[in-house]
Amino acid sequence: MVLKELCALRGVSGNEHEVRDFLLEKVRKTADEVRVDRMGNVLALKKADRADAPTILLDAHMDEVGMIVVGVNDNGLLSYDTVGGIDSRVVVSKHVCVGEKAVPGVIGAKAIHLQTAAERETVLGHSDLYIDIGAKDKAQAEELVQPGDYVSFDSDYVEFGDGYVKARALDDRVGCMTLLRILENRYDVNVVCAFTCQEEIGLNGALAARFGVECDAAVVMEGTSANDLGCVEDHQKVCSLKKGVAVSFMDNSALHDRQLFARMLEIGREAGIPCQVKNRVAGGNDAGPIRSSREAVATVVLSVPCRNIHSPSSVAAFEDMDAQYALTDAFLRQAANCPTHRS
């Protein structure tokens, strides 16, 4: 399955070449025009089956959160910093891969037996943690890694339970998968699929991509945080697994177009595609720079709910991914009369 292949690829922000190469091979078979811009975004155009059709921009980011080596210590342990937002509580005792050669490493911390009562109450920060690559000293470590090497979580792709999957980087390989599926179809609108880079460190790729694409509306495909575990009040859940694709009216990076938001819910209702409204304003995404950079454009975000997002063990449900694809597909089938503001 393509999701398994996508999640096996390492693509920490700024180092997306594995994901990009994989996607390029796929989209060259389906898209009419493919290019890579100077940021490293992949832009794939599927032309409409008629002239003078509006253009819809679809966005999914290729990158994932990870770490980067900032120093090699005398004892052979590596200091690191995060690339994108990672809770330091999720990294302890996790297996990682360092650098292009994927050198195995483990993020270590003092064992519970050795901690004082005060230490047990304290959360260790990333600057207190080190990556152990099994080197006896600095010289030996430097034969394998150097500062600037990217570090990614090493975590198996596991399908489990009743239609769930656990993997790293579901945010946003699920979106990449949806775009690959969309590119297999032809619509009566032009579809530009932007597979962007560097979303996790400031929505950088999408900003450049927006300046390279003329479009009439944009739909962003995301994996977003589901807060549906434990005793969480309904209004704090953000979204829940197996309740369909989450449609956003607002994120920290954008207030979305009202008509587009309403239309997505309407299409979902009419076509029987499970959707839910993302009911908490949290996180930002590529819709921010797309909405207000260059000339204004209408945006909306369709997300697959993910538990434990930005960790080695994100969890999502296949039926929500299918809903993301189905809603996008249904929208594109009736997007030809999309209101255009292009001047």
């Binding site: 209004h235 704090q236 009216f249 607002m250 207030l255 304003v281 207000s292 000339e295």
Partner: protein, 330 residues
């Protein structure tokens, strides 16, 4: 001017939900401009043709508020802030939605004041019987603002919600009415979504490609007991901004504005603000860079339901802006 201002203050226009106030402004300015359109974000963009430089004025229409994120089974609405609206300033206040539905903004009991800043325990009560009743009147994604409620404060001031930034909109509308010469190409943009990061101005400035940009907005006022530390007083004239935390104004624009004030016989104050930001920050960084500045109106109690501004400061602002528009700005 007072009539224009009152109409603006009585019109709903939340951040991201500016259509109604844009409709009112469009109606007001149509006779005074040559072209008018709206972009995909809802910016209202009007052009009055002229010979010289392209001068863009930006006044944001949006008003901070609360966006509905969830409706519970008893019909209470949970919310998230849109812009810098504070829970403490808002407790048990009258709020209103775009469709006129009234509500009370309130909070779960908080006996030791431990979550005065925490919006996750806040809610809006629209007097609904249950979820279905609430959903018949309000939908997730709708935005409530402080209900219009302005009043005269002394002989020269007006207080109430949404002075930020209907004051700036009013100054721009009255300037368009006052213009006689066609010295410069005047691009009047009534912007959206300023309160969440000047997003509307960013797109509009790119699209309109100006030579010079001036934002019209309110600023803090340092003349109240223990108030903000800023050398700005209400009633002492419109302010020429030197800087705030989002931009250092172009010295050229500062000079042009101070010169315009002098020629118009308007007493202006210099404003140095160590916080805040305005649309000018995004205009300045558009494309290859734009000479940008700000005309500010001193405002007490910014981002509360009792913002207070001086009408004479606004009148001074109209004269200053008119003089600026009708001079050679090379």
């Amino acid at each position: 001017m007072k009539e224009t201002f009152q109409k603006l203050l009585n019109t709903y226009g939340a951040t991201g939900r500016e259509e109604k106030v844009a409709d009112v402004i469009e109606e007001m300015i149509r006779p005074y401009v040559d072209e008018i359109h709206r972009d995909a974000m809802g910016n209202l963009i009007a052009v009055r043709h002229g010979q010289g430089k392209r001068i863009l004025y930006a006044a944001h229409m949006d008003h901070i508020g609360f966006i509905v994120t969830d409706i519970d089974e008893k019909g209470f609405l949970r919310v998230h802030n849109v812009g810098g609206v504070r829970k403490l300033n808002s407790l048990n206040r009258h709020v209103v939605f775009e469709n006129g539905v009234n509500g009370v903004f309130s909070s779960e009991a908080d006996p030791d004041n431990s979550h005065l800043q925490d919006l996750s325990t806040a809610f809006i009560d629209i007097g609904a019987k249950d979820r279905a009743d609430a959903e018949a009147r309000v939908r997730i994604g709708d935005v409530a603002v402080y209900a219009p409620d302005f009043f005269e404060l002394g002989s020269d001031m007006l207080a109430g919600p949404a002075m930020d930034n209907r004051a700036g909109c009013c100054v721009l509308i009255e300037t368009l009415k006052a213009l006689k010469q066609r010295t410069n190409e005047i691009i009047a943009v009534f912007t959206v979504q300023e309160e969440v990061g000047c997003r509307g101005a960013m797109a509009a400035a790119y699209a309109m490609n100006p030579d010079l940009g001036v934002a019209l907005d309110v600023t803090l006022c340092g003349d109240t007991p223990g108030g903000p530390k800023i050398a700005v007083k209400a009633g002492e004239g419109p302010c020429v901004k030197i800087m705030d935390s989002s931009l250092v104004c172009s010295p050229k624009v500062v000079r042009l504005m101070e010169d315009a004030a002098q020629r118009a016989g308007v007493k202006a104050q210099r404003e140095v603000l160590t916080a805040g930001g305005t649309d000018a920050s995004r205009i300045q960084l558009t494309r290859g860079g734009v000479h940008a500045g700000v005309l500010s109106i001193a405002c007490r109690y910014v981002h509360s339901a009792c913002e207070a501004v001086s009408l004479s400061d606004m009148e001074g602002g109209v004269k200053l802006l008119t003089a600026l528009s009708e001079r050679n700005v090379d």
